[in-house]
């Protein structure tokens, strides 16, 4: 694992370094691009320089033609060319264009020379008129001609410098292209390296996952073997223990002295404790292996209280403790759940409080709760048997805490697990000093609207058995003759036979207050309150049982 983390870290670090490097290269390429773009965006000063040269030539040509007596050329035309030449000089004296050209004119000072000539001959040109002073005009042309040669030299230098500038732009673009290619290639190589490393990592993780799965499988197999061993050992130990208890019971029935009888009773008690402990180990093993399955059947809450009293009362009495069981008002009579396991869970808590905590006064109150009946075990806890014990420890211990797990914690642990399997919850309160109340909430299905007493009249044994199971599952009571004819509230009659009408009439006569429900397809629907078609399901039977009115048959 350490090696794997090391590789993952170096993978991330190398990716990060690579990305930073590529980012830097990309930034440099962008910078070069921008530099080239800026330079290429500048006005071409060669154009401005050459235009000045052209305007000088045009002025000189116009002035020459005027001096030669060309009538098509006026002094105004000469002045226009003169002004345009002025504007070219003005162009070089300001702005970015002027500054860039001035850089090439520091030695020759052509612009200054030209401006000097314009100033010098300003008056002559402005006041130009015929006849022309040939000598003066000749001098002017000669001077401007000399300046023109210098201007041409400046234009050539500007042209060359512009070429160099454009070459720089091209170089910037080339450099940028090279850097971009390098960055792209680098990104490609980096991506390939990362993909390679990721493949290696993936393979490593797969191998580790396979190893982990194998280890988990081995651990599970070991756990299964342990559970099987525990189950087997519990059975193996309980069988001889039952033999011992049986023999002790026989011994107790023989004529014994009082001392011998006490010894036998002690031996019996120890044997029962061991048998109970073996049963708990068996249950715990089933809970661990998740092989314990809860039953789901209808039972009366009163039968639960009776079962608790009958099962644990004598034991607690022997311990010198009293157990009171109370049923509050407003409780449903019938509920659906696992009576035996619920009794076992409650018994574990009660037994623990009496035998391990030393409580001499335990009260079990069953009262209505929001999510079903609540079983409150209220006990006096004086902490005499277990110094430092707190009631909360009943709920604290987890199944995984094997290191210091005491056998006395097994009962509450099994109880908690059973309640959890039923979807219930536990809460501990200490409302008064010296007493603790453990509230066990279990969401038991409540049988609403009372329990029907159902008589089954089916031709086949199979249909009889299926209907009986469904009736019991729905929490209703199956009728038998010992309950009396008046008890029957519903008759389920398998219809479709030849004597269907006669059977229906007989049932009406025997049970005048009962509802008659046809199972299958009756010949005369009007004979029944409801019809439940085959195959019968819990839902269809429940719907049929809901039909109360007589006279209107309903097919469900």
């Amino acid at each position: 694992m350490k090696i794997s983390i090391g590789i993952t870290r170096s993978l991330a670090a190398s990716a990060l370094v690579g990305l930073i490097a590529l980012g830097a290269v990309g930034f440099l390429a962008q910078y070069k691009d921008l530099e080239g773009l800026r330079e290429s965006s500048q006005e071409s000063i060669f154009w401005d320089a050459s235009q000045s040269e052209a305007e000088l030539a045009r002025f000189m040509a116009t002035l020459g033609r005027y001096a030669l007596g060309d009538d098509s050329v006026t002094s105004a035309e000469v002045n226009k060319r003169f002004d345009i030449l002025w504007s070219r000089v003005a162009l070089f004296e300001e702005g970015d264009v002027g500054r860039r050209i001035a850089r090439y004119d520091t030695e020759r000072q052509v612009i200054r020379e030209l401006r000097g000539l314009l100033d010098k001959h300003e008056e002559t040109i402005v006041n130009l008129s015929r006849p022309v002073d040939e000598a003066r005009t000749r001098r002017i042309l000669a001077e401007f001609s000399a300046a023109g040669a210098h201007l041409r030299a400046l234009s050539v230098e500007v042209l060359q410098s512009e070429e160099i500038r454009l070459a720089n732009v091209r170089e910037h673009v080339r450099t940028s292209a090279r850097l971009t290619s390098f960055a792209s290639m680098g990104a490609l190589v980096l991506a390939l390296v990362l993909i390679g490393l990721m493949l290696i990592e993936t393979r490593r993780y797969r191998r580790m996952a396979a190893e982990s799965a194998e280890l988990a499988e081995r651990a599970e197999a070991a756990s299964r073997a342990k559970s099987q061993f525990l189950t087997m050992m519990s059975h193996e130990l309980r069988t001889p223990m039952n033999g011992v208890l049986g023999l002790l019971a026989l011994v107790r029935q023989s004529s014994l002295t009082d001392r011998q009888l006490r010894l036998v009773e002690r031996a019996e008690r120890s044997g029962r404790q061991m048998s109970t402990l073996l049963g708990d180990i068996l249950d715990f093993s089933d809970l661990q292996s998740e092989s314990l399955v809860l039953d789901r059947d209808m039972f009366e809450l009163a039968s639960l209280t009776r079962a608790v009293e009958e099962t644990f009362g004598p034991t607690l009495q022997r311990e010198g403790a009293s157990l009171r069981v109370e049923l509050s008002e407003g409780l449903p009579r019938w509920v659906v759940g696992d009576l035996a396991r619920l009794r076992q869970a409650l018994g574990h808590f009660i037994t623990y409080l009496v035998e391990n905590v030393g409580s001499k006064d335990v009260r079990l109150v069953i009262r209505p709760g929001a999510g079903g009946p609540v079983f409150e075990i209220d006990a006096a806890v004086q902490y005499s048997e277990l110094p430092g014990w707190q009631p909360e420890s009943m709920l604290d211990r987890e199944a995984s805490e094997y290191d210091d797990f005491a056998s006395d914690a097994l009962g509450p642990l099994i109880g908690r697990n059973l309640i959890a399997m039923m979807g219930g919850s536990l809460e501990l309160r200490r409302a008064t000093e010296g007493r603790a109340t453990l509230s066990v909430s279990v969401p038991l299905q409540v049988i609403e609207g009372g329990v029907e007493c159902v008589r089954l009249e089916a031709g086949s044994v199979t249909v009889q058995a299926v209907l009986g199971a469904l009736v019991r599952r729905l929490g209703h009571e199956l009728w038998n003759e010992s309950l009396g004819a008046q008890r029957v509230s519903v008759v389920l009659l398998e219809a479709g036979g030849e004597d269907e009408a006669a059977q229906a009439a007989a049932m009406r006569a025997d049970h005048p207050g009962a509802r008659l429900i046809a199972i299958g397809a009756p010949s005369a629907v009007s004979l029944f309150e409801a019809v439940c078609s085959q195959p019968v399901t819990s839902e269809s039977l429940e719907n049929a049982l809901r039909v109360r009115r007589r006279g209107e048959s309903e097919i469900v």
Partner: protein, 167 residues
């Protein structure tokens, strides 16, 4: 001597090219400062605008920097689209602009309507002179639109404008 000088200059290729220009510098505009015509609508007479005519149009101010000035300058003059409207665009897509020195440039007419392009007569309150960029300098609001920061628009800043021909 004068003839020799002229012939020497005339011998240069540059001068030969300049003299070969159609119309050359003889393109007369009379008293008009700007001639506007629409070749796309031959029936529409050309408009010859004096300085007073240009000043009579609504004056718009554009503040911008250019490569030809040292800093931001406030230009003032009529909108180019107002001048175009004098002859009507009538399907013309290009404005062929000609300067005093025969320099010319083609500008899409739609740009006059997209941007506040003016025919600047004043710069920082001073009348533009023929010895500078005057009397008319076509000015785009370069600083107001990033897409105008391109050498293409340096070329379109034609100064000493004399003719606007819509095509």
């Amino acid at each position: 001597m004068i003839r020799e000088s002229v012939l020497r200059l005339g011998g240069s290729l540059l001068l030969a090219a300049l003299l070969a220009l159609p119309g050359g510098e003889a393109a007369a505009t009379g008293d008009a400062m700007l001639v506007v015509r629409n070749e796309a609508a031959p029936d529409t007479p050309e408009v010859r605008m004096t300085e007073e005519d240009l000043l009579a149009l609504p004056q718009v101010t554009v503040r911008t920097n250019t490569e030809f000035t040292d800093s931001v300058v406030e230009y003032e003059g009529p909108l180019a689209r107002d001048v175009v409207e004098l002859v009507g665009a009538n399907g013309a897509t290009t404005a062929h602009l000609v300067a005093l020195n025969d320099y010319s440039v083609d500008v899409p007419v739609e740009e006059f309507f997209e941007y506040d392009v003016i025919l600047a007569l004043y710069a920082d309150g001073k009348r533009l002179s023929r010895r500078g960029k005057g009397p008319i300098w076509l000015m785009y609001p370069l600083d107001d639109h990033s897409e105008l920061q391109d050498p293409l628009y340096n070329v379109r800043l034609i100064w000493q404008l004399t003719t606007m021909e819509l095509r």
